[in-house]
């Protein structure tokens, strides 16, 4: 069978159509790229049109063979796995050729990269369930994240259940999309640019209280920055209240500087950029 590079529109349905067309054209895919990543290549290539009915047929077929794989593919599509489409395509090809028997073996060379990437996605989403920080502005809760994977679809049900009576949004800076929720309805939409408004008095006050709590709860005799970093990698700190510098805790309406939220007895969390070591108790306040 001839080898071929496919281009598609970047949607999950588009990806499914690549699979559909590869079977229809009897072609083996060596790469699958999104249209926007197009680079002129020496290899034979084909641009795939997205056809919803084709996509549906492929997906139904996969679900019939293995609902587990169908779910895995939907999740893998959200991951940052390099050339994820190719790994996913190979998984589908193997599934359709051999049946679902090999799926029990996590170390299977075709399954492993996909399952591993999904694990990474779910692990990141799990951490972010805790690390997302909301600010309240005019009755709406808003938060920002910078994840490696597209976690918003995974986080959606968790936050919608938890804050069912609230209006909230989470902005994903990496993938430039946002999850909006109000009155029982949630949508995820692309959003090119977003700037969080500065806090009002009340909001600034809760930020200060939280930072104070955070800095006080650590036990000085057990100070262990390495352990903290292992559990909470630094790349998450950027969007977390406890690691922001003094300006983050100043209300917009009050020109008088709010005193930096240092702690008499605690360990002050480093502001941005994160420094090292506990600040001496005398220097705080």
């Amino acid at each position: 069978m001839p080898e071929m590079v496919y281009y598609y529109d970047g949607s999950f349905e588009g990806f499914l159509c690549c699979i559909f067309d590869s079977y229809a054209n009897k072609e083996v895919l060596t790469a699958i790229y999104r249209d926007e990543d197009f680079v002129p290549t020496l290899f034979a290539s084909r641009a795939i049109q997205t056809d919803q009915s084709h996509a549906k047929r492929v997906f139904r077929k996969i679900v019939k063979c293995s609902p587990y794989t169908a779910n895995l593919l939907q999740k893998c599509f959200l991951t940052c796995l390099p050339e994820k489409e190719l790994s996913m395509y190979r998984l589908v090809v193997k599934l359709l050729r051999e049946g679902p028997g090999f799926l029990g073996n996590f170390s299977d060379p075709v399954l492993h990269p996909v399952a591993k990437a999904v694990q990474h996605l779910l692990a990141e989403a799990h951490l972010l369930k805790g690390f997302v920080r909301f600010s309240e502005l005019d009755g709406v809760l808003g938060g920002e994240i910078e994840p490696k994977n597209r976690v918003l679809p995974v986080l959606r049900s968790h936050f919608c259940a938890r804050y069912q009576n609230e209006k909230f949004f989470i902005y994903d800076r990496t993938h430039k999309e946002a999850l909006f929720y109000a009155n029982g309805k949630a949508v995820i939409r692309p959003l090119d640019d977003f700037q969080m408004a500065p806090p009002d008095e009340t909001e600034a006050n809760y930020r200060i209280l939280w930072k104070r709590f955070y800095d006080t709860i650590a036990i000085r005799e057990r100070y262990n920055p390495k352990c903290r970093m292992t559990n909470m990698p630094k790349r998450y700190w950027n969007t977390m209240t406890e690691f922001q510098d003094a300006s983050y805790f100043k209300a917009q309406s009050s020109p008088a500087a709010v005193s930096a939220p240092g702690v008499p007895a605690g360990i002050s969390a480093p502001g941005k950029p994160p420094g090292h070591g506990p600040s001496a108790p005398e220097s705080a306040l």
Partner: protein
């Protein structure tokens, strides 16, 4: 005194309690209420403090005023420290507003004994009721049951909280007499027994009527202080085993004693908290809860304390050479779990993967097996890892080296004290 100052004092006074987990919650979201409890077994960490510990709940005392004089405690009556108390409104407001901002998973409310155990518990109930009923808070609440509280009040507390805990703190009666003269073993065990019985009863009722009230649905836990008294690891682990067996505790927490006071009966103030020992106890506790080990298997009268150099599972493996190597293609689940470097997940994956073909050494790493440790203890299709040669001595050194980078910093420093000199 403003709320910021109260929060500082009452957090500082609560920070030595190790329990900070939201696991085991079963609270689904409820119309008109805010919050639920996350169903994940691992619980949900919202941050990690500078000492590397998970921050999941707003962990504070209602008040640090206390009529008792436990020698090891910063809140003891005789300690000259600033005292404060939250009003129920302040506490409820903080909890809700922290929760809405996703700072926390819920509230962990403890308290010094103000006037009497009953009086304190009544204050706690007032705060929790306000939070549940007026603020319609449906997230996680962990409340401390104070020894000596009357059963009726413990009952009310349990209907408001997801988890209750009674801290044993000192692992032996002698320790209790010397260091916490106001508390007795009996006063600690009574509420524990009540909580267990009520929790059991409420589970049975829930099977019959869907709307039966839930009593502490996430069960109960306790904490033991390690290193304030001379109790051995064996003593502590046996106590733990008994608590899991007889009181059906969900968790036992260990807290390395941080010297906060100069006292003849306590370690001097410059003694470092025994973090490595605490770490080994947590590892052993894990083996009891998930790996099918019993306390007696891990320690005995000849070896009453853990070998600081290797983790308890490796220790057990080294003492039972006849059990190994385990053949991963045929061993049952419980035997797989005994291999150092094989965890619950990788053991399950081995079982599943075996069904579609024989496993070889090279497959194991991908299944999540930590080969650095496991290689000494297993074969796959009759073969050991390529080029593996070791003596009893180099095996021990290999295991120590394999764990070293995984140990938290302070623990690693304490471990280095056991390095051979020269």
């Amino acid at each position: 005194m403003d709320v910021l100052e109260k929060l500082t004092i009452l957090t500082d006074a609560a920070k030595y309690d190790a329990a900070c987990t939201s696991s085991g919650g079963t609270r689904g979201s409820k119309k008109g209420y805010i919050g639920n409890t996350s169903s994940s077994v691992a619980g949900c960490c919202h941050s990690f403090s500078a000492d590397g510990r998970c921050v999941t709940l707003l962990k504070v005392l209602l008040t640090n005023r206390c009529i008792y004089d436990c020698k090891y405690c910063v809140n003891r009556r005789s300690n000259d420290t600033k005292r404060a108390a939250f009003t129920p409104e302040e506490l409820a407001d903080l909890t809700i507003n922290f929760y809405r901002r996703n700072y926390i998973e819920g509230l962990f409310l403890s308290s010094g004994v103000f006037r009497s155990p009953d009086y304190t518990t009544e204050l706690m109930i007032r705060a929790l009721r306000l939070l549940r009923e007026q603020y319609r808070f449906n997230g996680y609440i962990h409340a401390k049951a104070i020894p000596g509280t009357s059963p009726e009040l413990v009952e009310q507390l349990g209907l408001l909280a997801d988890r209750l805990s009674v801290n044993i703190e000192l692992p032996s009666e002698a320790g209790l007499k010397a260091l916490a003269p106001d508390k007795t073993k009996q006063a600690i065990l009574t509420p524990m027994r009540q909580i267990q019985a009520r929790n059991q009863q409420s589970k049975e009722e829930l099977v019959k009527y869907r709307h039966a009230p839930k009593f502490a649905p996430a069960g109960q836990s306790t904490q033991l202080i390690v290193g304030a008294t001379r109790d051995s690891d064996l003593h502590i682990l046996r106590l733990t085993q008994g608590l899991y067996d007889r009181y059906r505790l969900k968790r036992v927490f260990y807290s390395a004693y941080v010297p906060v006071v100069e006292h003849a009966l306590l370690p001097a103030k410059d003694v470092k908290p025994p973090l490595l020992r605490e770490h080994r106890l947590y590892q052993a506790d894990w083996l009891l809860r998930f790996y099918g080990f019993r306390a007696e298997e891990l320690l005995d009268e000849q070896n009453p304390d853990f070998d600081p150099r290797v983790d308890p599972k490796c220790s057990w493996a080294l003492a039972h050479p006849a059990f190994f190597p385990v053949e991963v293609n045929t061993a049952d689940y419980s035997a797989l779990l005994r291999i150092p470097g094989v965890g619950v997940t990788s053991a399950r994956r081995i079982l599943a993967a075996r069904r579609s073909g024989r496993l070889h050494i090279d497959d194991l790493r991908k299944l999540g097996v930590v080969m650095k440790r496991a290689q000494y203890f297993l074969t796959a299709s009759g073969k050991a890892a390529e080029g593996l040669r070791f003596t009893q001595d180099s095996l021990l050194r290999g295991l120590i080296a394999a764990e070293r980078p995984l140990l938290p910093q302070q623990e690693a420093i304490q471990l280095s004290l056991f390095d051979p000199v020269g």
